[in-house]
Symmetry: C2
Subunit: 451 residues, 2 copies
């Protein structure tokens, strides 16, 4: 089946890197792209009278008139899958690697399919991946977590914990987003990757469960007045180590987590232990966490002195950036999709801030000249994704869709012009600029940069 | 491996219906039971100094001193599983059928493993199942949803919708619990099922996404003043039909849902469309939803006139009960587990109400004589699970653990004595009594009924 073929009233956009098998499935299931490219003849909900068909006109429609196999036979038994899986018609909704982006598939990225997701929770099976040495399914009985001090006086009683020790302690559960610092990184170089999966898909959101790191430091008799930073160290072969300011630990927000969305962490996400550092870039959420050291200076590890740094216009490196500033993106309609007719569309997207709650999202359909306020889905939680929706009537002429988020500190997501005035154009990390999706008069949607 | 064998400091409780293979995995992974049966020597967090071991004493501990394979080799590549799965060490955490409970495995139940879950979100792979005719993976392109009136004047323009039609409309996403009306049903007959998975496991909680049913009724020109009830009809062979009071529809809460936890519904949970009726028993959340009819009388369908009714003490049947009243249960420690020593335990559980938000949960350790207030995890959402936690120091003597929830309407979860005074003992459905877990001086925990 031709990926660009017309399917009823929809012309499917060829999703990048779909296999022929996946494309065939999409053709069968249809909704992965239809989700955001509905043909609409009416304006708004009140005018959505063209939806559906009068029941009297449904003659000849097998699906409604004739008994389907699922109405005339015994279905599958309970617990056919003791751990359930998605429908076979949903296989195209998957995380995907960007071929060529990295040299080694074990030290690479897979992106979450934001264009086909709802609400704010990321199913753990679609959570983005970023590994530096590949992922491991570590035997939890063999995993240990150590707390020690850079100098003996920083931690009175260094200790080694089993997972059981950690899970005995009073737990907390909180919903937080995690975003890789390199998310939207290609855009610095004006490489407009085609779809939101690849431009913003290093972003996920889960309910995490664990023990505040502060509890563990206190258990070891850490000197929380002398401490200025902690070093978090992963158990994988990449020697992943990151400096965390002690203020984040003292706030109680930093968590040694074992749970994600009600069950244990997934192996790709650090099973059995990872650090959760709400609001901070993903690299600091150290996976397969094996050690935290209490110190009084930043550690200048390779992953903060050489990588995950920002090359500024004056040629200097900005280091130790960590908070993911206020950002948003329209996930639907978005790049690679196609509008087939004029009329009503629901425009939906995600907003988030590493500094707290989202307070407002504005959406523009004309590249930033006029803005309308979007509806925010509740609950609006701190350092968590917030879903926004806004209705739009497309008049069939070229348009540019943008979203601009504001957080409770008053920070407003910058345009590319504003961001580059400060940061230049040679960075990789920490791009939170306003994303633009251009709608051509043909209905084709593409990724463009508007200063 | 003997399921009752001692494993370090833990004596595992033999989980019901585990296969030998699962038991072996539990022995390897350990934490599924350890989660709530930690050996504790200290009281509370401040006194948890016996946790972990001094790092200096860790000599000979391979796990911390010697490089593990995952630190010295390249791991698995990204997208090795385009749709991720849990760790192989977590296979014992699964939904399970109760053998013998039903005659046909397709018309049966699988229970969610509440004893091993965290927070409030149920991973869709562990969501409980209750089917009347088995489950189906319906081709969404062939599925239709119809709205019509019991009399022509009730719905001006009856319509047939495709899934694409539904997904075009402005969506809402909300987190809600779903509980089968028969949850905890065996307890009416004094059959104390051994574990919380079987006593309370027909309970799950997800972020659902869909379109308010009210929007669709308005789209068809329904007469919402004449309407008193709607009938919801499923597409499976069980002819599942349920009456829903129009007030619930008018409130905007009732949703024709296609999304669950960020992705499409799972086949076992009604893919591609199910009704979401917040606060109401699960049977009304009709799966594989194919039709809603607007009427002015209750429909007295088989699943509300013959099943899902309450036999009262005077011999009459109570019909059309629907709201799941305020209820709670301690999930850990719970039946089948075993405390191996005195000291600190975190007591954790879930509370919910079909009438709104949970306002308070009290916990008793002596069978209801004394009560302490538990900490409620935020956010506390309406008609959603709320997680509670409370510390406990076990003195080694027999104890009875209970939780008692209160909702924002002031409704207090009843004791079995209070419930039976009104409802008698011959019901199956709508048991929201206070659950008691008896801790023997041996540390063994069992299900008992306290009036």
């Amino acid at each position: 089946m031709d990926a660009g073929a017309s399917n009823g009233r929809l012309r499917r956009a060829p999703e990048n890197f779909l296999t022929a098998e996946q494309i065939a499935l999409v053709g069968k299931g249809r909704r992965d792209f239809l989700r955001s490219t509905f043909l609409a003849a009416a304006a708004g909900v009140a005018g959505a009278a063209a939806l559906g068909r009068p029941a009297a006109a449904a003659e000849g429609d097998d699906a409604i008139l004739k008994p389907q196999p699922w109405a005339t036979s015994l279905g599958q038994p309970v617990a056919a899958n003791p751990y359930g899986v998605p429908s076979k018609y949903e296989r195209a909704l998957a995380r995907r690697q960007s071929p060529g982006l990295t040299q080694v598939a074990a030290a690479s990225v897979s992106f979450a399919p934001l264009q086909g997701m709802f609400g704010i929770i990321t199913p753990s099976g679609l959570h983005f991946e970023r590994h530096h040495q590949g992922w491991y399914d570590i035997d939890p009985a063999k995993h240990r977590f150590m707390v020690n001090g850079a100098r003996p006086e920083f931690v009175k009683t260094p200790k080694v914990y089993t997972l059981d020790d950690i899970m005995r302690l009073p737990p907390v559960s909180r919903m937080h987003f995690i975003e890789c610092g390199a998310n939207t990184g290609m855009e610095w170089g004006n490489v407009a990757v085609p779809t939101v999966q690849y431009s913003h898909g290093m972003l996920s959101c889960s309910e995490f469960t664990g023990v505040p790191l502060r509890t563990l430091l206190e258990d070891c008799g850490a000197d929380l007045k002398a401490a200025k930073y902690v070093l978090a160290e992963g158990g994988d072969g990449s020697a992943m180590t990151r400096t965390i300011p002690i203020e984040l630990v003292l706030s109680g927000e930093v968590m040694v987590a074992y749970g994600q969305n009600g069950e244990m962490l997934r192996p790709e996400n650090g099973y059995p232990l990872r650090l959760v550092v709400p609001g901070v870039q993903g690299v600091s959420w150290v996976k397969w966490l094996r050690r935290v050291e209490v110190g009084d200076k930043p550690y200048a590890t390779k992953d903060e002195a050489v990588h995950y740094i920002d090359l500024m216009p004056d040629g200097q490196h900005r280091q130790y950036t960590s908070i993911q500033e206020c950002k948003s993106v329209i996930t639907s309609p978005s790049g690679g999709q196609m509008l087939l007719d004029k009329g009503y569309f629901n425009v939906s997207g995600l907003a988030w801030s590493g500094r707290g709650k989202i307070s407002r999202v504005d959406v523009s359909f004309d590249g930033g000249v006029n803005w309308v306020e979007a509806t925010l889905q509740t609950p609006i939680l701190s350092k968590c994704l917030t879903r926004f929706n806004v209705p739009w009537n497309w008049d069939g002429r070229p348009a540019v869709l943008q979203s601009r988020a504001m957080d409770e500190t008053g920070f407003v997501q910058p345009s590319y012009g504003q961001l580059r005035a400060v940061r230049g154009t040679r960075s990789i990390y920490h791009n939170n600029a306003i994303q633009s999706w251009k709608v051509a008069d043909s209905g084709e949607i593409s990724n463009v940069q508007i200063l």
